[in-house]
């Protein structure tokens, strides 16, 4: 991984999906390999089902915690509509990893707006798109709530970082009683059959 430049990962989802835990593991792993890391997270009302965005930047020296438009190397989207919303942040050759889950926002629920065909549009615009059913994988691992760790595994597969470092960091981050489920969930995401060339 050439580290002269700053790399950018954007994690997007809906409040309550566990994006914050996933970004915590990611940023800890990056710190452990000796890089400068900055993370920007907007929360406040995010627990109430609004859009949540975490920006993770890393390199030898990082100034701003905010990813400029069109500069994300990877977008990890926990929900399809959020993937669409943040698509303009992706780099031309960037990778977008999407959980195939639909969560209707209130305007759609009350019939004031349509839920768009997000995946079709994204595929028509960018090359490196990977869509997985993280919920099914999490259920198979033993807990539907482990969706975030399945997606973290998928992200890890697309980053060139020692596999054991991820496992060690998950172990330090999640409560002991959920560890086995989370390790299984991580492997499920990591070993997703398809993948896009490493960056």
């Amino acid at each position: 991984m050439p580290m002269n430049e700053t790399k950018n990962i954007l994690i997007v989802g809906v409040g309550g999906q566990g994006t914050i835990l996933a970004s915590r593991v990611l940023s800890t792993v990056l710190q452990k390999i000796g890089l400068d890391v900055k993370v920007s997270e907007i929360h406040g009302m995010s627990q109430r089902g609004g859009s949540v965005v975490t920006q993770v930047r890393y390199g030898q020296s990082v100034s701003s915690p905010i990813i400029p438009k069109g500069q994300a190397d990877i977008i990890l989207a926990f929900e399809k509509l959020e993937a669409l919303r943040w698509l303009p942040t992706l780099k031309k050759e960037g990778i977008i990893l999407i959980n195939d889950q639909r969560i209707d926002p209130m305007p759609v629920i009350i019939g004031a707006a349509e839920y768009p065909e997000a995946l079709d549009y994204i595929r028509s615009k960018v090359k490196n798109v990977l869509v997985i059913n993280a919920l099914a994988a999490a259920q198979e691992a033993g807990n539907a709530k482990a969706v975030n760790i399945v997606l973290l595994g998928l992200l890890a597969r697309h980053m060139n970082i020692d596999h054991s470092l991820w496992l060690e960091t998950i172990e330090e981050t999640v409560p002991a009683k959920f560890l086995q489920v989370n390790l299984k969930a991580f492997e499920a995401g990591y070993n997703t059959a398809e993948n896009i060339a490493n960056i």
Binding site: R85, L87, P88, M106
Partner: protein, 588 residues
């Protein structure tokens, strides 16, 4: 050792390292985590105060008596604490006192975006602005030194991006600071006119000395690079400037009040084109212009919202930048598809939902307040007419009645949360009784300060450290101020709730309705999810008026998302055809 910390965690750490004895706060985004983290250090006393004014008063007591104190609040909290603040600037502090003002440019979670550097200037106290977590910790420690060296409260001003961004911080040990001597000093600490007049003279003399300090202190730093462009910046904006315009010369101001005139003039003389880039008000720019320095600022950059890197790129990048940005990947997706917004919503099982359903149904005028329940203003409820500040609901309802008469008040309620009521609702209620209004006040008691992330408060019997304590008896409190009509109701019982609201609106005197049920996110064991019996659903969509995120319309009928539903049963109670139940296959 370096650790990844948010700005807020770093401020708490800085206070701990600086030997702070007492930390106080009222929760408010983006400041809340400062005191939550402070409470995790056993060497420091920490408390949630009932409001920001009390928080600062407890802090000033600690400081005057000799112990260092950290007081934290969001920007609008400083409005509440302004009364003690301005006079504390006169008395001085003995041991160090640092007031953290966490501002929210862009209003991620606030009702306005006031620029609190103005408070520093108005109160004549120094203002420090860190630009990342390492500085958040360092500046906290410097602020305590400065506070004691100049005998003044110091404002540490952050913004949401500094408060909630994480970056690496070098950890250091705690410095044990012994209590300073406390000596009675009436002339210094009793601010009646005769004693206050000489203190104002002292404040002005102190400000002169602070200006001298600003010229040479380590907080302000001139970084000369290419001379074509010079930028003066502070806080998060400094980091954006370094990213977008790495070759520009910068004057980084860690202390934005008072400003270092000589240093700024020297910098201005070194560069060809001088800009101040600052979020919100032209606070630095105005001072430069008053000194006759030629500078660009708000002629180029917005007065409103955050100044993000992309704005700096847009305004100055093509002329002065490296233009390293690749072209954008796609045109904004919005140009092609209408992307629905995703506003926050009341959670599944939220105890507020039923109330706003009823308020909407009864078509009442609702003066609202600050909390999760402000979401009652949104679709599909639209059941809120005003939200101004903490506690304003009750006063606003009284004012409407006094202007428009009792008839209007029969269709008017004030809605306020438990913590907000303690913060500043009780004084409004006293006004209703004292001045003979007929106000109906609905207090939403969900046993926590929910919106800021579930902080304990005086109504739930737990301190910030989770210890048991006495809880305020809300019905008794309302009765004690003279409200004779006080009634408690479970907001999940819609029939009873509606009956009580109608009955209290009809009463010719003030009444308090306490809707009591814990926040859904605190309920440990959710009930079995509800489900719709498809052949019974007549597609009337009445349940959708609840605004529950679990209820989805499919082919003219409704379906319930069983993975989100917590079985609160409100939808079953509004269904006219008994089509919603809990038995059978919940996953259909």
């Amino acid at each position: 050792m370096k650790k990844l910390l948010t700005g807020n965690e770093a401020i708490a750490r800085g206070a701990w390292e600086a030997g702070v004895k007492v930390c106080t706060a009222y929760p408010g985004t983006p400041s809340t985590e400062i005191t939550e983290n402070a409470a995790s250090y056993s060497e420091m006393y920490a408390e949630w105060s009932p409001n920001e004014k009390v928080a600062l008063e407890v802090g000033l007591g600690a400081a005057i008596s000799g112990g260092r104190a950290l007081v934290a609040m969001k920007h609008v909290g400083v409005n509440v604490a302004a009364d003690p603040l301005f006079t504390l600037a006169y008395t001085g502090i003995n041991a160090g006192l640092v007031l953290v003002s966490a501002d929210d440019p862009g209003m991620h979670s606030s009702q306005n975006e006031q620029d609190n550097r103005n408070f520093g200037k108005a109160a004549k106290i120094p203002v420090l602005e860190p630009s990342d977590s390492q500085e958040a910790k360092e500046f906290t420690k410097i602020a305590f030194e400065l506070s004691e060296a100049f005998d003044t409260p110091v404002m540490l001003r952050t913004t949401t991006r500094v408060a909630h961004s994480q970056s690496l911080v070098e950890l250091e040990p705690r410095q044990e600071i012994p209590l300073k001597n406390y000596e009675k000093n009436i002339q210094k600490y009793v601010m009646m006119p005769g004693f206050a007049r000489p203190r104002h003279v002292a404040v002005e003399a102190r400000l002169e000395k602070l200006m001298e300090y600003a010229e040479t202190c380590s907080l302000n730093r001139m970084e000369l690079r290419q001379r074509q462009l010079g930028i003066i910046a502070s806080g998060a904006v400094y980091q954006y400037v370094r990213e977008v315009l790495p070759n520009a010369s910068t004057l980084k101001l860690g202390m934005t009040y008072p400003l270092p005139r000589k240093l700024i003039e020297e910098f201005a003389g070194q560069v060809e084109n001088l800009y101040v880039i600052e979020e919100l008000d032209p606070f630095i720019e105005d001072q430069l212009k008053a000194w006759g320095i030629k500078v660009h600022g708000k002629d180029t950059f917005p007065l409103v919202g955050e100044i993000l890197p992309e704005i700096i790129q847009e305004k100055l990048g093509s002329t002065y930048g490296q233009n390293k940005n690749e072209p954008e990947n796609t045109e904004s997706s919005d140009n092609f598809l209408h992307i629905p917004v995703r506003p926050p919503v009341m959670c599944p099982g939220c105890p507020h939902r039923g109330l706003f359903y009823i308020l909407n149904k009864l078509k009442l005028t609702v003066t609202g307040d600050i909390g999760c329940y402000t979401l009652g203003a949104q679709a599909p409820h639209h059941a809120m007419d005003t939200t101004i500040c903490m506690g304003a609901s009750i006063g606003a309802a009284i004012g409407m009645e006094k202007a428009r008469g009792k008839e209007f008040a029969r269709k008017l309620v004030a809605v306020i949360g438990d913590s907000t009521f303690i913060h500043s609702g009780i004084t409004g209620l006293i006004d209703a009784v004292y001045n003979k209004a007929t106000t109906t006040v609905i207090i939403l008691d969900n046993r926590t300060t929910a919106m800021t992330g579930h902080q304990n408060n005086p109504l739930n019997g737990r301190t910030i450290k989770g210890e048991a304590t006495k809880e305020v008896n809300l019905p008794l409190l309302a009765k004690a101020v003279g409200v004779d009509r006080v009634v408690e109701v479970d907001p999940f019982n819609l029939t009873e709730l509606e009956t009580i609201i109608k009955q209290e609106l009809a009463a010719e005197e003030p009444s308090v309705i306490i809707c009591k049920r814990p926040c859904a996110l605190l309920a440990k064991n959710p009930d079995k999810p509800c489900h719709v019996i498809p052949e019974m659903c007549i597609g009337c969509l009445r349940c959708m008026k609840l605004g529950c995120p679990c209820i989805i319309k499919v082919d003219k009928k409704v379906r319930i998302n069983a993975t989100q539903c917590v079985g609160c049963n409100l939808c079953a109670s509004v269904c006219p055809n008994g089509a919603i139940g809990k038995e059978g296959n919940a996953n259909e």
